[in-house]
């Protein structure tokens, strides 16, 4: 029994990274007032590009680690590009963000699938990133397995959480982002370039979503498939609501949802006679339940969330 619990908890940290990165990125978008539902599509593109580079370099065999790093870098750049593109659509042209996000999602998922079939073909695995046991700490019984023997990318992602908090709450740029998401008109009158700040937030958010996708394909699944993302982008968006637009609470949410996802792995590996599909459903049901409890009376929500800003029109 204790083994099962250790296994579940040990999966939590590495499996939560994709959700964590994507929702921290989405948090930057939403703090700046842009609701980016295209996260799923950007993650798909990031996942594809992230695995493509080590795959082309090694043909599925082992490759030097810096190829994986290159994959992550390419995914981040591509995600940033998608962020710019979404900015063009929603900030410059002021298209309604919800439906434009659906468009971006379909575009991203479709493009990743199309390119994958051309460049890779079928299911191909890549070696991925090895786990690193942190000396001494990883030998602590119970906690060592849970906290201190994961891959490098997972550690870096968790180190990024306090950095994101610092950026958002303690730097001038973070203040600008929060200002354009809360009251763009006031920010505008103080000389902040609203469009530019929103673009910047979208680029950061897109890059993080790209990294999240690359993490899924390079570090977690070690392969790409059409169903790899399977709604994680949307869950990431929901997590932002759940975490009240705050990095540390989002981290808690990501861990909670990952715990729900590991449930299916446990069901599979333990051979418990429980319908597999019900276990897969669990995180999605959890999202709806959580949203039902948290969507009403949201006082922390950025007040300009979802509203395009036009300095020519008085509201």
């Amino acid at each position: 029994m204790i083994d099962i619990i250790t296994n579940m908890l040990a999966m939590c940290i590495p499996f939560s990274v994709a959700l964590l990165l994507a929702s921290i990125g989405e948090m930057f978008n939403q703090r700046a007032g842009v609701f980016n539902l295209g996260c799923e599509g950007v993650m798909a593109m990031g996942a594809f590009v992230g695995m493509l580079i080590p795959f082309l370099a090694g043909g599925g065999g082992s490759v030097p680690q810096w190829y994986n790093a290159l994959g992550f870098l390419a995914a981040a750049l591509l995600g940033a590009f998608f962020g710019l593109f979404f900015g063009l659509v929603t900030v410059t042209f002021r298209a309604p963000q919800g439906i434009a996000g659906i468009g971006l999602q379909m575009f991203g998922v479709g493009t990743a699938g199309t390119l994958f079939r051309h460049f890779v073909g079928g299911t191909q695995s890549i070696p991925g990133i090895p786990d690193v046991d942190i000396p001494l700490l990883s030998r602590i019984p119970f906690l060592g397995d849970i906290l201190f023997s994961h891959n490098v990318a997972a550690y870096l992602a968790y180190i990024f959480v306090p950095i994101a908090w610092y950026i958002l709450f303690k730097t001038p740029w973070g203040l600008k982002v929060r200002a354009v998401g809360t009251n763009p008109r006031a920010a505008d009158s103080m000389g902040i370039n609203v469009s530019r700040t929103r673009y910047e937030a979208l680029v950061v958010g897109g890059a993080l979503a790209g990294l999240a996708g690359a993490y899924l394909s390079v570090a977690q699944a070690k392969m790409f498939s059409d169903t790899l993302i399977s709604g994680r982008g949307f869950i990431a968006v929901a997590l932002v609501y759940f975490g009240h637009w705050h990095p540390l609470q989002i981290m808690g949410g990501a861990l909670l949802f990952t715990l729900a996802q590991t449930f299916q792995t446990i069901v599979q590996s333990m051979g418990i006679s429980f319908p597999y599909e019900l276990a897969v459903m669990l995180p999605y049901v959890l999202v709806i339940v959580v949203l039902s409890f948290t969507s009403r009376n949201q006082t922390t929500a950025p007040t300009a969330l979802g509203k395009p800003f036009n300095r020519e029109i008085r509201t």
């Binding site: 539902l37 468009g103 999202v287 969507s295 009403r296 949201q298």
Partner: protein
């Protein structure tokens, strides 16, 4: 600003939108080294060359039309339904359930009953996000997507367990599918696989036109959608109509599932929903959220979907390209609409245009 300029402005913006959409799709095609013009020809014109192809296009247009009409009702009422995929799956389950439970009921009774069941199945699945939005302010974009995944899992669970074909158990091939449904729920076929669902789709589109533009219920729905605060001030229960419109939207998606099952597949298998739920959103937007625009739009997208199934063998382009195109089309449409409705921008262009004319004189 002259009338001629306004028309020219519209035409130019729409042309630019179309060109940028084609350009974006071409970039993706170029990246996979496909012949761009050949691919467009295969997807858009090849299906029109044979009668058989045209009937296949129409088969795909039927569920698209029904789903998109439903989505337009929700969209006009101020709620974006991207959960048609899940609602369709629930409709399929309800339809199959009725057909399997009462195989001996005569056809004039059983077919309407099964179609009604599929509407109820989809309607409940649409009502949930509607009521959550109305009462608890839950974003429908997120809840419908989650319900899609839940419905997909539930669908395969049912196919694998209670609906499983007894023959599969005997032979043990393990394909998750139901047995062939009783002939009493089959929709008749006109030619090839083309079934009478096409008439049903057209009738439903007309009915929705009447509901939305000729009755007070439709007026209240549209009022809630175009300005919720004004509607509430006018005494309209916005939340109620939000939930009702989502239930209608879901019922249509469920019905699309039932029709697809009764007309084409005639047994519940994996993959019937075939992304129709998401394509329906594109069709609804492309058709201008109006039933009479949606009918031709659903034909066009039926064409794209069928054409993309020809693409892998004819020009070596994966069928996923249709999803890419749909994504691009959504983005381009909403962007072009915003540009067209921006009167300030139009005014600026008009002044530039006049300044240019003066210089020439």
């Amino acid at each position: 600003m002259t009338r001629g300029f306004r028309i020219a402005f519209r035409v130019v913006i729409m042309a630019l939108a179309a060109i940028s959409a084609i350009l974006m799709a071409s970039i993706i095609l170029w990246m996979i080294g496909a012949d761009v013009s050949d691919t467009f020809y295969t997807i858009v014109f090849e299906p029109l060359t044979k009668m058989l192809h045209i009937s296949e296009v129409l088969i795909r247009a039927i569920p698209l039309c029904i789903i998109a009409v439903g989505i337009s009702v929700a969209y006009r009422s101020g709620i974006i339904n991207i959960g048609a995929e899940g609602q369709m799956a629930m409709g399929l389950l309800a339809f199959t359930g009725v057909a399997l439970a009462f195989p001996d009921v005569p056809r004039p009774l059983l077919l309407p009953l099964a179609l009604l069941a599929s509407m109820i199945g989809g309607g409940i699945w649409g009502f949930i996000p509607g009521i959550l939005k109305a009462k608890l302010n839950v974003s429908e974009l997120l809840s419908t997507v989650m319900l899609n995944y839940i419905a997909a899992q539930f669908y395969s669970l049912c196919l694998r367990t209670i609906y499983l074909d007894p023959a599969e158990q005997v032979y043990g091939t393990g394909t998750p599918q139901s047995m062939k449904l009783t002939e009493n729920v089959w929709l008749g076929r006109i030619t090839g696989r083309l079934h009478y669902g096409i008439l049903l789709a057209l009738i439903l589109a007309v009915l929705i036109f009447i509901l939305m533009w000729k009755t007070s219920i439709g007026f209240r729905m549209r009022a809630s959608g175009s300005c919720a605060r004004a509607a509430r001030y006018g005494g309209i229960s916005v939340g109620f109509y939000l939930a009702v419109s989502m239930a209608i939207s879901g019922a249509f998606a469920g019905l699309a599932g039932g029709v697809e099952l009764a007309g084409v597949h005639r047994r519940a298998i994996e993959g019937i929903t075939n992304n129709y739920g998401f394509s329906g959103v594109v069709v609804a937007l492309f058709g201008g959220l109006h039933p009479f625009g949606i009918i031709p739009a659903s034909f066009l997208f039926g064409l794209l979907i069928y054409g993309s199934t020809l693409a892998p063998t004819k020009v070596g382009v994966p069928a996923n390209i249709v999803q890419v195109m749909q994504g691009i089309i959504i983005i381009v449409i909403v962007t072009a609409q915003m540009v067209l409705s921006n009167t300030y921008f139009q005014d600026r262009v008009w002044r530039k245009y006049q300044a240019l004319r003066k210089k020439e004189v």
